[in-house]
Symmetry: D2
Subunit: 338 residues, 4 copies
Amino acid sequence: MIIVIKPNTSPEGIEEVIAEVSKLGYEPRPIFGTEQTVVAAIGDERTHRNLDSLTVLTQVQEVLRVQKRYTLVSRESHPADTIINVDGLKVGGPHFAVMAGPCSVESEEQLLTTARAVKAAGATILRGGAYKPRTSPYEFQGLGKEGLRLLEAAKKETGLKIVTEVLSERDVEHVAASADILQIGARNAQNFQLIIEAARSGKPILLKRGFSQKIEEWLLSAEYILAYGNPNVMLCERGIRTFETFTRNTLDLAAVAVAKMESHLPVIVDPSQGCGKASLVSALCRGAAAMNADGLIIEVHPNPAEAMSDGQQQVDFAAFDKLMASLPPFLTLTGKTL
Amino acid sequence: MIIVIKPNTSPEGIEEVIAEVSKLGYEPRPIFGTEQTVVAAIGDERTHRNLDSLTVLTQVQEVLRVQKRYTLVSRESHPADTIINVDGLKVGGPHFAVMAGPCSVESEEQLLTTARAVKAAGATILRGGAYKPRTSPYEFQGLGKEGLRLLEAAKKETGLKIVTEVLSERDVEHVAASADILQIGARNAQNFQLIIEAARSGKPILLKRGFSQKIEEWLLSAEYILAYGNPNVMLCERGIRTFETFTRNTLDLAAVAVAKMESHLPVIVDPSQGCGKASLVSALCRGAAAMNADGLIIEVHPNPAEAMSDGQQQVDFAAFDKLMASLPPFLTLTGKTL
Amino acid sequence: MIIVIKPNTSPEGIEEVIAEVSKLGYEPRPIFGTEQTVVAAIGDERTHRNLDSLTVLTQVQEVLRVQKRYTLVSRESHPADTIINVDGLKVGGPHFAVMAGPCSVESEEQLLTTARAVKAAGATILRGGAYKPRTSPYEFQGLGKEGLRLLEAAKKETGLKIVTEVLSERDVEHVAASADILQIGARNAQNFQLIIEAARSGKPILLKRGFSQKIEEWLLSAEYILAYGNPNVMLCERGIRTFETFTRNTLDLAAVAVAKMESHLPVIVDPSQGCGKASLVSALCRGAAAMNADGLIIEVHPNPAEAMSDGQQQVDFAAFDKLMASLPPFLTLTGKTL
Amino acid sequence: MIIVIKPNTSPEGIEEVIAEVSKLGYEPRPIFGTEQTVVAAIGDERTHRNLDSLTVLTQVQEVLRVQKRYTLVSRESHPADTIINVDGLKVGGPHFAVMAGPCSVESEEQLLTTARAVKAAGATILRGGAYKPRTSPYEFQGLGKEGLRLLEAAKKETGLKIVTEVLSERDVEHVAASADILQIGARNAQNFQLIIEAARSGKPILLKRGFSQKIEEWLLSAEYILAYGNPNVMLCERGIRTFETFTRNTLDLAAVAVAKMESHLPVIVDPSQGCGKASLVSALCRGAAAMNADGLIIEVHPNPAEAMSDGQQQVDFAAFDKLMASLPPFLTLTGKTL
């Protein structure tokens, strides 16, 4: 770390900083500039104390971090793309994944007709929420275990793999018994207890970026999973919260490029949550594919106008068919296949 | 709800919307304006389906909500200020609360010296994290149960009430056994399973606003707690995430005024998290008191420069003494007492 | 507009709102719902007073706008894509434009070598700042008129069209004499006096979105230009300001899709400003092309490490060549040609 | 500046950075840490080139700035509070200023009745927009010169000083002839040509913070004014743009404390724009006063419900009287007087 000392600090003030750096286990190395002095603190920042606390000293202007905070998820530690095995289906590297299905599992008929439709259009993974985190306690909270049963039935019939969200540490075990991928939602992006429990299940995890999570923090949430012994993480960009209100969130497609540069993990894009408007989903899918995303997770519903949750962002079967027909040439250009 | 139809829509297009509104259980009432038609959907929005889904119809421009989404937390349902009983100590209405203590419980000595100091300065509630949610898995995660034991000891010696964060549904029971107030942190502001479990404990809850939670959503998180039978909620404004980087978060003091206008619940302000800089804490405390907040939660440490977490925002005993000495006249002006 | 009355308002309270709506020139139409009353105000919102002011009445909960605020830039008023003639070069519809060149014009050699290089790689328009808006008064402010002279010389030699920023109303005339496109920068996105003056020049205008401008507001800035008689506007998405710090701005590619849906104007993407990192530019160009943008504006410098401004986001000639070689297949897929 | 080299960089890679630092005029000083190497670039950052451009070198991880970018506005260069003379009225230090009046000057009667009312309540400066920057070209744009004439008349009758916004470089001269303080609005917070022209008038300037301007950037806009020879700057915090929609902007009261710590300039707070809701103005005024702001600028209108602009955030005379009556004890506590 670098401790920036304020201009015109007395030698005693500088000495105090040097002593404190030393006391906290780093080797202090002062550099006397033309305008200001800085003290480089030599030592591994990951295993030593964070020196931000030194800003409480009145002569300290700022503390600057040098090292990146994530290790296991970094490209440096693992230069090749990680390819994840989802019950026999590969995701990552050249293998592009399309996860599709309703926002919520609502009924057997709704789920099965959707599963058949998305499979016919080329999807390989079925999404569907059995446990739904809802902003208001008065909104539909999902079918729970019955929803999981329906997802299993859909898998049995269609062969699609299953991705579904888990909301509670106590549900991890039984959700993991039904699902091929555990989704950690945006609201739980820093619910580390849930993340650790999901990591321990050994199942592949789709880790959504939080509403206002910096890319660094998103990678650190993923770092938790790897640190707890589970290397099967798919990062999922799903839009961040900004001042813009025309779209529900602002899909940060540059974050896809950043995440793939900084990390070896596959990156999936959620255009449905990302914009909150069915009419924009197709364009965002093309953009994501062109930017080298490793997959998409798309909300599809037989009749979005009557959906029990988030109908406004779900596409119907015809729109999904058209979208899927348009994707392959973009994938070809980025060297990927469905 | 109000469904806005696009200009130049055919009568058939309008009819389709009217039929859909009717099908979803509302009574449709079209209003033909000079430029556009809108359809008012008559019916209680809280018990009917959300009509946002109708925006998937190409002739629908927008859907506008009429009713507020929260009920139990609203001023309308409970005009008087809620006063919460924290093991005999009143919080809310004219009763101002000062919660103070270290970010993390680090050791017996650290906690007890701090407890004595904040008590001497006038605080009535001791804060201290036993379970710490940390952005990186490599950072100090708290002392856990040993931390709780130390908090109990500090209460026994000083008589201060205890507020501490709970991170896991599985910890609610034993944290509730040691603490007088359960804190739900910003990262768990929409971890509804944890919120529900905490609600069921019956303990008073300090509910922090999420990093990017709108005031409406924060109140809806509180609504969950009331809907699950626990009326003892203190809202806590702790800064939101914005583009500004000089401060760690942007403390939204207007949200204090809004929350007190919209809701009957007490509102506590966390200036330490709110700005992330010890040097700003005192000014923010004065601002919060002047704006009629019902309390403060302040990080205090015997030696912030060497704190194990967030030292940069913790004040030392001398600064806390000075801060506490400056508060009473501001409280007098807003009709409150410590 | 729709005026939402608070629950439990007395008939007199409702009457007062109705009278005020009437007084302000609208025809009031009350709708009595099961929970709340709303008053629809019939009349053209664009030619009447904004009724937001009615929220000062204590019985008014909220005022909801029905009509869109922009007219001339809207798709409704002009369904076909606008194609702009830039001194003989078409931009918009099937005509994709690549604008490239240095952030700042620094010297004759720097500009001419860059002009030749970007022309050879396929760009058709040369960018280069002669007047630079700089956050600090101590930073390089551009060569001014000498910069314009160099741009003219580069045009003369290469045949590239010229786009350059204008910062002052007083400079519009002479900048318009040298440039083919006047750029209004992000800092001036709501400097309406400059926008009006630029509109009056009759020159095509590249209108950058402001740092925190909502899409609606960006379109309204464009509306000013059309309302002042100049239909030749290119919208330019250049990233918005968010909490993310890894990238300089957050490029809002969904805004490209929204702008093209809402408006007939061409939309250009600036990936250089949009991310602030040269290493991300190429991926963002592909994403923009796939999402049907009408062009790109890219910063290119002979030696970015030694650039006088924003070197970190400028690509060198080799990177630009590679980028340009990768674009055509993406354009083919969206039906465009360079 | 500090250049952080990526881990595992070859000695040649480090040499290249050192050579480049040297070439750009700094003295390079490498520090070899346990994990990474950094190169300190010794030299005044304000007079040398910005080294951010070095991030285009693939071995460079990041470039960290050491020095603050502002000088003349900093506390270091001028430890005492600046007190500004506004035509005989002092603002700053112990002198608290209340600026009040309508959003827009609408008519002689509207302005004069308001001027009398705010003067009677204790305001010392009259605000009123003659030139209005409006998001849409179809909204009321102000009375222009006639508005200035009315402001002069109001000054003549009441003795109140005048603050009014200037939108165009071309208007600076005649606005300065009528006004005692020139306001630079949020939309022009980085319109440096207008700022420079206003600086040259020699008049005191009220500089609003931009919608998404960091505190550092706001201070740098002020630095322009001082660098152009005008020391009479009042900073004005007026709310920043965030994701929150209940309030129009998020008033950043911590920025008041920061600005007063970092700079010697007076800081004025605009609660009307800051929240966009008349019902919140009074609480925000109290908060601002408690946090040691040097003044307030408040929108007051004889009949807000019928105001021609921003009625929703204007208070009426009765509310303003009450607000003014509540302020003095808060000012006493912070050692200020009206």
